[in-house]
């Protein structure tokens, strides 16, 4: 008995958290047993077990894989371009006051407005297909990367720069030894935010500008009232987001080894 209570004490956080999720799923599963839904609503209703069954069927039929690859391709290319553009620009903006001032209005305006407003324009320019998606993923993901890199570069300690200079370091060495390591935690926070934005871009881009991909699968299933397919698609996106976000979080924590108060993020 005491063994059980002490086990509970130790794992209380997990037990309560996981327990609650299991409880909700079970409740959801039992809804049709508890109440009879009016006919109109029954059409929209599904249960976890049905979603799981549908998921399995789609997996066996290979439908999920097909859409998944399309989505992942757009995600990776858009995020890759965002990294390739955001990091160098963030560094340059952090180092040059003039370029910072010149680009500030655009960065502020573009960052404050949901980047999704550009989707109609991209569809018009690039047509329905991968490129309009890649572009919307890119504009979504680039700003968190750029802004966080910029913050990391800006916030470099003057004393440390002087220390390194006093040993005769040139600009490039100052960059390598002080500026980049100092920015790394910020860049990783930026990467985590960028991943979220990139997935958002994939989802919405595929709702409107695609004829393939998981987002397309969700949208077309919804218009055919295949609610369990919708949920199966949503579950994949959720899983993907969680896995990626948690991995980056791990990376953030490993940097906390030299930084007792890890970079905060809001």
């Amino acid at each position: 008995m005491t063994g059980l209570t002490s086990f509970y004490r130790e794992k209380e956080a997990y037990l309560l958290g996981i327990g609650f999720i299991v409880f909700l799923l079970a409740l959801w599963q039992c809804v049709p047993l508890l109440i009879t839904l009016p006919r109109g609503y029954a059409l929209f209703f599904t249960t976890p077990s049905r979603i799981a069954a549908t998921f399995y069927r789609l997996l066996v039929e290979g439908q999920i894989q097909e859409h998944f690859y399309v989505s992942v391709a757009a995600f990776l290319s858009g995020l890759g371009i965002a990294i390739a553009v955001g990091l160098p620009f963030g560094i340059v903006m952090g180092r040059s006051r003039t370029l910072d001032a010149l680009s500030d209005p655009y960065v502020t305006a573009l960052n404050a407005t949901p980047r999704l407003v550009w989707l109609p324009l991209f569809i018009l320019w690039f047509g329905i297909g991968i490129w309009s998606k890649v572009m919307i993923v890119f504009v979504g993901a680039v700003f968190p990367l750029l802004i966080n890199t910029y913050a990391g570069v800006k916030n470099v300690d003057r004393v440390l720069v002087n220390v390194v200079r006093s040993f005769g370091a040139n600009e490039w060495q100052v960059m390598k030894v002080v500026v980049l390591p100092n920015s790394l935690p910020y860049i990783i926070v930026g990467l985590r935010l960028a991943i979220g934005r990139a997935i958002l871009g994939v989802v919405v881009g595929e709702f409107f500008g695609s004829s393939k991909g998981l987002g397309f699968m969700i949208a077309s299933a919804a218009s055919n009232y295949k609610v369990d397919v919708v949920f199966a698609g949503v579950a994949i996106f959720m899983g993907l987001s969680l896995i990626l976000t948690l991995s980056v979080k791990k990376l953030e924590n490993s940097l906390a080894r030299w930084r007792p108060e890890a970079a905060k993020n809001f």
């Binding site: 002087n162 040993f167 005769g168 930084r259």
Partner: protein, 257 residues
């Protein structure tokens, strides 16, 4: 006396954007001999750190001339190294990697610099802490790392900007003693900035009082205490006399501004 550092009429004015210019140094002249231990004392903001940065080659004076062993100082060089007040350790590097910094920037081979750095870490009493990160060290240990890092390239001149100001009194006494031992062994030229009259008198061959801003060398006092010095000397009447003389000179600068 063989001159090591010769500063002639050094002037420097900061011209920050959107603010009034500040003249930090005006016609400052002083000499430091080879192997000498010189302390600079003066009111806060009088330009002591500025002068050290000029010596280090990070700042260029607007006027005057500054020479090291007869050669004009034009930028940082490996004959000089600084110990910083706020330690200035790179937080993402271990003790070893921090100490190695100077050699790394010079392009010294990894195995060689590692060996040399370990030697200094041991000398600084940090054996066993080589793979610690700065935030895992106490203040005294951090400053030992700072000292080891400055010594790693075996500079001829050691510049120290209030190196012990952030330490508690006992650690400070200990570090002073260790610094004197190192100085005695290595015969380096030391320029030491401090706000503590006691510390200046205890460590130095000469104490130079810098006037309130703009800084000039106002008074030079020879400290005739015998070497090696020990803690007991600080209790002698002679030592108190020296302190009183420095204080008298410094006091005028504090009240007039």
């Amino acid at each position: 006396m063989v001159p090591c550092i010769q500063a002639r009429d050094i002037s420097l004015t900061f011209k920050p954007k959107n603010r009034d210019p500040v003249t930090a140094l005006k016609e400052l002249t002083l000499d430091v001999a080879k192997g000498e231990f010189v302390s600079l004392v003066g009111p806060s903001g009088c330009g002591k750190s500025t002068f050290l940065n000029v010596l280090l080659g990070l700042l260029k004076p607007d006027g005057g001339e500054i020479r090291l062993n007869g050669k004009q100082i034009t930028g940082p060089g490996q004959e000089r190294a600084m110990v910083f007040q706020e330690f200035g350790l790179l937080p993402w590097r271990t003790v070893l990697a921090n100490v190695e910094l100077g050699l790394e920037l010079k392009g010294v081979q990894a195995s060689v610099r590692r060996e040399r750095a370990m030697e200094l870490i041991k000398m600084a009493g940090l054996a066993g802490f080589a793979s610690h990160y700065p935030h895992e060290l106490s203040g005294g240990m951090k400053q030992r790392v700072g000292l080891a890092r400055a010594l790693v390239t075996d500079p001829e001149v050691l510049l120290m900007d209030e190196p012990f100001a952030a330490l508690d009194a006992q650690t400070r006494d200990l570090m002073q003693l260790e610094l004197l031992q190192i100085w005695d062994r290595t015969k380096k030229t030391v320029v030491f900035v401090t706000h503590s009259i006691e510390e200046a008198a205890y460590l130095s061959d000469r104490v130079i009082v810098i006037s309130a801003r703009p800084g000039r060398a106002k008074d030079v006092m020879k400290i005739a205490l015998p070497r090696p010095r020990d803690y007991e000397m600080r209790l002698s009447a002679e030592f108190n006399d020296i302190k009183a003389r420095i204080w008298a000179s410094l006091k005028e600068e504090l009240v007039t501004k």
